[in-house]
Each structure stands twice: as structure tokens, then as C-alpha cells.
């Protein structure tokens, strides 16, 4: 039960981090200048963004929960099961970020969901 609770924390924090990151990076626009000076400019433009700070905090929560999870559950369960975030991310990318999700991506997410269900057996 503890393992499933930790997995839920990992998935929820990963999903939140990815959504915040994606939202903020899309707002910033495509990065085209990969020279050191260009990357410095991008970094200084992004460093104080509230959404990115929250995203990093969520990633930290996800990492600490992962540390706790591998203490109580098998690694061969923890790593694949955390891919369950892909399913929720796909649904939320469609609903919140208004992304177009094609059928191949829906089938991929469904396969991941079935895989996580098999891990639970």
C-alpha cells in the first residue's frame, strides 16, 4: 500500500512538473540560438519564472518519493510503473494544453496503462 501511495506521489509530481515546464517553455517560444551567449540569454529570461521554480520543486518531490519507493518496492517495479505518468500527461496535454493527440499516441498511452496494470498483478 505504501508503494502505491509513493507511486501516486511520483506520478502526480512528475505530471505537474512536466505540465508547468511545457506551459512555460511554450510561452517562452522555440529556442533557436544554441551558442553560449544565446543560452545565457534564455537562462536569464527563464530563471525567475514562477512556473519553472514550481516545476523544479515538483521534480525534487518526485525524486525523493522515488528514493523512498525503491526502499520498499522492487526496482523492476518502480521504474516501469513510474512511466504511468505518460498516461495522465497525455490526457492532460489534450485537456489543459489543448495539444492535438493522434491515435498512435493514444494507443501508446493505452499500452503503458495496460503495462502498469500488469505490474500491479
Amino acid at each position: 500500500m505504501k508503494a502505491w501511495s509513493l507511486l501516486a506521489v511520483i506520478i502526480a509530481s512528475t505530471v505537474t512538473a512536466d505540465l508547468l515546464q511545457s506551459h512555460e517553455m511554450k510561452r517562452h517560444g522555440e529556442i533557436q540560438d544554441f551558442r553560449p551567449s544565446g543560452l545565457r540569454r534564455v537562462l536569464s529570461a527563464l530563471i525567475g519564472k514562477r512556473n519553472l521554480i514550481l516545476a523544479v520543486a515538483c521534480m525534487a518531490v518526485s525524486f525523493f518519493a522515488f528514493m523512498a519507493l525503491v526502499q520498499v518496492a522492487d526496482l523492476s517495479f518502480a521504474v516501469p510503473a513510474s512511466a504511468g505518468s505518460l498516461v495522465i500527461e497525455t490526457i492532460l496535454a489534450r485537456l489543459l494544453l489543448k495539444e492535438h493527440v493522434d491515435s498512435r499516441r493514444w494507443i501508446g498511452a493505452a499500452l503503458v496503462a495496460c503495462g502498469v496494470w500488469l505490474l500491479a498483478l
Binding site: M67, Q71, S76, V79, D102, G108, A113, L118
Partner: protein, 131 residues
């Protein structure tokens, strides 16, 4: 793709897969052997500075950096399917080095997840214009 870039891509893909799997293995090994129970913020901090956990964190940082580098010239639709092999490698390392019992259902689940990630990765990474 020129041969030099092809080799660079293969080498970085291997680094991404191996650093992730070995990082997770080292982290798990350290957390189960001498890092103590994670019950308070202080216990997390103590665990982070234990040798195997530190090595695991360093390898996971190497994984993040090498993945970022790889993504700077390779498509996400290439990186996701190739690195999805890491799920199987993690299960294999858990079985071999941590003595975990990987049941047939767990193998099947891992393979399904890998197939799902590959399928997602084969799609168009930029779908904004298609709506």
C-alpha cells in the same frame, strides 16, 4: 547522416541508457544497504551523502545531461524509442544484482510499457500545426 554523427549518436544513446539504469541500480543498492530508513528530511540528507546513493545521483545527473546533449541534434522521436530499452535493462539489473523476483506478468508489463513509449515516440513531436 554522416558516419561521425552516426557514431556520436550511438555512443550518446548508449550513455543515456546505461547511466539511467546504473544510476537507478546504484541508488537502490545504496538505499537498501546502509543508508538507513527514510523517515525525516535529515535521513534523506544523510542518505544522499552515502557513497552508493551519491554515485547513483551523479550517474542520474550524467543521464540528464547526456540526454539533453543527445536531444540537441537527435529527434525526440528517435530518443524516446531508443531509450525505452532502459525499462527492460532496469528490470534485468534488478533481477541480476538486487535478487528481485521478476514474474512473467512483470516482464509482460515492462515490455508493454516499452512498446507504448516506442509508439508515442514514433509520432510527430510537433503537432501544434495539425489542429
Amino acid at each position: 547522416m554522416n558516419p561521425r554523427l552516426r557514431w556520436k549518436t550511438r555512443i550518446f544513446a548508449a550513455i543515456v541508457i546505461l547511466s539511467n539504469a546504473l544510476g537507478n541500480l546504484s541508488l537502490t543498492w545504496g538505499l537498501r544497504n546502509g543508508a538507513g530508513e527514510l523517515t525525516s528530511p535529515l535521513s534523506f540528507l544523510r542518505a544522499i551523502f552515502s557513497p552508493w546513493v551519491s554515485l547513483g545521483i551523479c550517474l542520474l545527473i550524467a543521464w540528464m545531461i547526456s540526454r539533453m546533449f543527445l536531444l540537441s541534434w537527435a529527434d525526440l522521436s528517435y530518443v524516446l524509442p531508443v531509450t525505452a530499452f532502459g525499462y527492460v535493462l532496469n528490470a534485468l539489473l534488478g533481477r541480476l544484482f538486487l535478487g528481485e523476483q521478476v514474474t512473467p506478468a512483470r516482464w509482460a508489463g515492462t515490455l508493454l510499457i516499452m512498446a507504448g513509449v516506442i509508439l508515442v515516440g514514433l509520432g510527430n513531436p510537433h503537432t501544434g500545426d495539425s489542429t
